[in-house]
Symmetry: C3
Subunit: 128 residues, 3 copies
């Protein structure tokens, strides 16, 4: 299991981490296998989505704003972040093929920050 | 890693792909293991849900229509499809037992099309 | 593949199952690996979220109540439960490190009941 940190810069943000994951894969010398990714947090998540037009990332955050900002019980005030992280989930499983991540043409890997800015950890484990 | 294609026929649709995945599993001669499924797209997803009453599939699409159809920035106009695909996710992990998918009695595997009709690819990888 | 049952006590509930999963891991004598969890149901799901303040669990259920309770086609009347289970998903993949679940400091594993009370099954499979 490998770990790296990413600093987020906004309260809510979809931050691309494909290059960091690609680095882990290329250093692992695995030809075919699986790449498991996990974030050990409860107010950020992981997702795959379009890596071309940046407005898609902005629209995903806007779409998730159907979760109201207020009216929750948790005293820290960040319940929307907890809810959104559960909606996207905290892990991803991606195939490795020819020693590279097997992603679709338009797919990128994103850490979805919902309670930033913070420094987040990303854990990666590769299996042959 | 195996790949097969499925044509979707509507703009939004939950298309059952359990038989195709079962075929992959039965040809793999694995007794116990894991079946990983992945769609290399950003406007469709994967989910497990009831395979008995077809109204459930219709209701899942209706439930996801809480994401507004308009008001997004992405010029292609398919932001709701991007958002819904991230909500369901692009991969599934299902156990294999006695050389078959270990699904619950009412569970089926669905490709969730949100920007069809299109031909979609489904990738499958089995591990012992 | 191991299986255990958990009785839920309310119609909607986030029930912590971290101790049961930890037990499975500790009995498996695996140092490093992966823990795959799956629920063979269509009206409950699995999620990871905060295990400290119990109001977070309550707020997650409240957040998911953006799915309307009525207005669906399925005659059983439990379509919101089907929809919410697909939103959270039916499986989790968690790393195992030093013979223990590698969770973040605030993370717990929850069975998300949306159509209880019922007795639910949880399946667990460990890989080295």
């Amino acid at each position: 299991m490998l770990s790296f940190s990413v600093p987020t810069t906004r309260h809510e943000e979809l931050l691309e981490i494909t290059p960091q994951i690609e680095d882990v894969v290329s250093q692992a010398h695995i030809t075919e296998g699986l790449c498991h990714i996990f974030v050990p947090h409860t107010t950020c998540g992981l997702t795959i989505n379009e890596n071309a037009d940046p407005t898609v990332r902005q629209d995903i955050l806007k779409g998730l704003s159907i979760i109201p900002e207020h009216g929750f019980a948790h005293a820290e005030g960040n319940s929307p972040a907890h809810i959104k992280s559960s909606l996207l989930g905290h892990s991803l499983t991606i195939f490795v093929k020819n020693s590279r991540l097997a992603l679709g043409r338009w797919q990128g890997i994103y850490l979805a920050e919902f309670d930033g800015p913070r420094t987040r950890k990303v854990w990666v484990s590769l299996r042959q």
